[in-house]
Symmetry: C2
Subunit: 193 residues, 2 copies
């Protein structure tokens, strides 16, 4: 049901989507939907909050390489994972309907923050780095990069843009000796899951 | 006319806005509007492209301090400059109506890039910095930070978030000796224009 809603929101946007269209896609009765979600807005909210439900983050030992791999994986998933794509789109376009759902941005910031805490523990970070502030910056930079990639190439260049983002950001996070040992995902290798 | 349109788009969003509402606000005849802009979409496009028309960027000698002052000024203007606010909102929510207007993002990237080129000439940047890539990152980080600030506090904390952004980014741009001589605008002083 959530996936049917995500498909319709992804294709038509919030205002173009209708409960009828979503029901046709999902093949369930209106009663069941309203019981679970109350309204189109409830469904949109669920898609925003559950945007990461179909993700399988790359496993690893944690720290900076895992953070890089995670964002590279997300860049590729944005091109093929409908729930993620619709959830991100609805989260960015919330002004459209006056919904205010900020918690998903905090969820992503916490997720990135966890990896930065591991990186700190592994002595990968420069002394002055504020892990919480940097996690917020990562969410912001990722969000803005995604908007720009969507508008310029329909997200085709998102993995390349995220790689460029990291080349700019890493010198602020880690000493050169650590940076030289990291592999920045460029989209091609990450896509081969 | 553009300012009337910006006010209505800012209050109601693209889909909530109507030509009638905009005309009432502007007090002109429909004929004149259609002659200039053809449609609501034409007006929205003009507001996106002219979002910076009412800005008066801080003057300075160029380089990193001017770049910081410029972004601090923008953070304050986002709270009171309707044309900027509506233009940014429409640029982020373009998915809503399938409009694709990427050139305003390139315009901002060029604007930031100019200052980075001056900073390079003044020997303010670290050797490895790619000025063009960093300008793109700045636009992305600014865009995402703006979205997050809008959702979390109605943009009240945007100047503080932009200051945090710079504290994270500057070590990737400039050596510590340069960073220590820069003043990061925190919103309070910049607001006193």
């Amino acid at each position: 049901m959530l996936r049917a809603a995500a498909e319709v929101f992804d294709e038509s946007g919030y205002l173009g989507a209708s409960i009828t269209k979503i029901l046709e896609r999902a093949g369930v009765t209106a009663g069941a939907v309203y019981f679970h979600f109350r309204s189109k807005e409830g469904l949109a909210r669920a898609v925003i909050l559950e945007q990461a439900a179909d993700l399988q983050f790359p496993e690893g030992e944690g720290g900076l390489q895992q953070l890089l791999d995670m964002t590279g994986y997300l860049a590729v998933e944005m091109q093929r994972n409908t729930l993620l794509r619709a959830g991100v789109r609805l989260a960015v376009e919330q002004g459209v309907v006056g919904k205010q759902e900020y918690s998903i941005y905090e969820w992503w910031a916490d997720r990135f923050h966890q990896e930065l805490v591991v990186a700190r523990r592994k002595d990968q970070l420069l002394d002055g780095v504020d892990e919480a502030a940097f996690a917020q910056l990562l969410v912001a930079a990722y969000t803005g990069t995604q908007v720009m990639s969507q508008l310029s190439t329909g997200r085709a260049d998102l993995p390349r843009r995220i790689a460029d983002m990291w080349r700019c950001l890493l010198p602020a996070l880690a000493p050169a000796s650590v940076v030289s040992g990291l592999r920045i995902p460029e989209g091609d290798t990450v896509g081969a899951t």
